[in-house]
Amino acid sequence: MLTLLRLSMRQLGGKRRVALILLLSILPIALAVVVSIAEGEDESFDSDFINILLDGLMVGGILPIVTMAVATAAFGNELEDQTLSYIVLKPIPRWHIALPKLLASIIIAGPLIIASGAIAAWIGMGADPRISAAVGLALFVGVTTYSSIFSWAGLMTTRALAFAIVYVFLWEGLISSFINGVDYLSVRGYTLAIMHGIDKDGLGELSERVIEFPAAVGGAVAVSVVFFYLTVRRLRNMDVP
């Protein structure tokens, strides 16, 4: 499995992709610095910081964009280059192929996003290590869950990126904002709920609109496992070009 993990990381860790991740990861930190300097005595600062920067920009924007850019390519590149046959005709079970692809997506996309969110929270939320840890852990769950979904999408269609954009914009962005209950089936909802669940005091602003912590953890695990299973099943059933 290590052989495939190394291969996948090399495939996904291209300079342009890493540069994009780096650029997007710097953005929340830079904004956190700017707004902290401009904060003054504004009492609504924490609330605005959580709503706009953590929820809107980080969880609603950068997290899905970066993971879709990485995870859809995990299998997408292999299909596009027609190199998947080099892997699937080896004497290894299908989940030994799917797991390294998923792990590589998480390893490439995760650290910079997690560090970015944790550092931005540290700067913007009064250097509270608990808040930073909550943001970092929640983003890790978000990266893992999105990676599982988008890896599967990359195997299902050559237009995985388009699918991912529509899914993130419509389901995670639009529909989950307007319809109650959708948060139970939303990675954004899981991420915010886990963030809030780890530090209810520091991130109290989220308490009115997040689902229960156990439901979020269970949902994220279930979605990750289900899409991982679907990826393995797709690998078994598909015609490999």
Partner: protein, 309 residues
């Protein structure tokens, strides 16, 4: 699950369709130890057939077994089978040696060194093994891909157009390698759309045309059938009428006609004889021969001929 099988590779009533397009239509054959060539023009369904045999694609109908086992989703079988796809895409950032090592690791070989060295030696790439795949010529890339496909010393080899991009010297070397492996009891199935590429090494051929198996069997018997076909050769000379009169007198010529551009079209069942006789005849008659080319030597026309019979 193990099913009863007669050949090393057993293809039974296999069809494959994509929507309304039938790529392979009720094909049955067996492949036994030795070299078997799967021939057919481009678009005949050869690659689809090999993908089905390798287990990359699922049969719409029928079944395929290799070494008595089903080929789809059967990782333990893949330990005994080597597959080289037609498309040349590889992980370009790997060196040739790294590609073979990568393959060896996935086959679970240990230690790697000896097997990798042997595979690279077989394809004669020892000197260039540390260059990146992107830096190879087409022929070198083919040879390294072949090394990666056979590094685990498989019992069955399925090679899709392995001679693409190779030069004549490499083809001879490749032929020697395949013959040596076949003489050790391996089963080798090679596809090609060029008859001459495989005629000297394959003992048995399978001919596919339009998704169907048009003919199969001993190479010489099928070649003899092919030789019965009349070929057309176009020649361009400075005195066509005088040349045509001389050609008509030849025993091996079926007919002679003129094209609109003044060139002569000769129909003959003994094209090899014709190709040596005509230049000599032109020289003896003081006629200047500027061009001589076969018109329909394509494999398609040969295959169509066989199918029509």
């Amino acid at each position: 699950m193990t099913t009863q099988s007669n050949g090393v590779i057993d293809v039974a009533d296999v069809s494959k369709w994509y929507g309304s397009v039938v790529a392979v239509n009720e094909v049955s054959f067996q492949v036994n130890p030795g070299i078997t060539a799967l021939l057919g023009p481009n678009g005949a369904g050869k690659t689809t057939m090999l993908h089905l045999i390798a287990g990359l694609a699922k049969c719409s109908d029928g079944q395929i077994t290799t070494l008595g086992e089903p080929v789809r989703n059967n990782p333990s079988l893949y330990q005994r089978v080597g597959f080289m796809p037609e498309h040349e895409s590889v992980y370009g950032f790997y060196t040739g040696r790294q590609l073979v090592e990568f393959s060896a690791k996935l086959y679970g070989l240990s230690p790697l060194g000896e097997a990798v060295d042997r595979a690279i030696q077989i394809v004669g790439m020892e000197d260039a093994q540390n260059r990146t795949m992107d830096g190879y010529s087409r022929g070198m890339r083919q040879r390294m891909r072949l090394a990666a496909a056979i590094v685990h010393d498989p019992q069955v080899m399925i090679l899709d157009e392995p001679l693409n991009g190779t030069d004549p010297r490499q083809r001879i070397e490749f032929q020697e390698v395949m013959e040596r492996l076949a003489s050790q009891g391996r089963t080798i199935l090679i596809s090609s759309h060029i008859l001459e590429e495989v005629e000297t090494m394959a003992g048995r051929i399978l001919l596919m045309v339009s998704g169907k198996l048009a003919a199969s069997g001993d190479f010489r018997a099928i070649r003899a059938k092919l030789d019965e076909q009349a070929y057309q050769v176009r020649i361009v000379v400075d005195e066509p009428r005088r040349m045509a009169s001389a050609i008509v007198a030849l025993d091996d010529v079926d007919s002679v006609s003129f094209d609109d551009d003044g060139s002569i079209v000769v129909l003959s069942r003994k094209v090899a004889t014709i190709q040596t006789t005509l230049p000599r005849m032109a020289q003896e008659n003081g006629i200047r021969l500027t061009r001589m080319e076969p018109i329909d030597e394509s494999l398609e026309s040969l295959f169509e001929y066989i199918v029509e019979r």
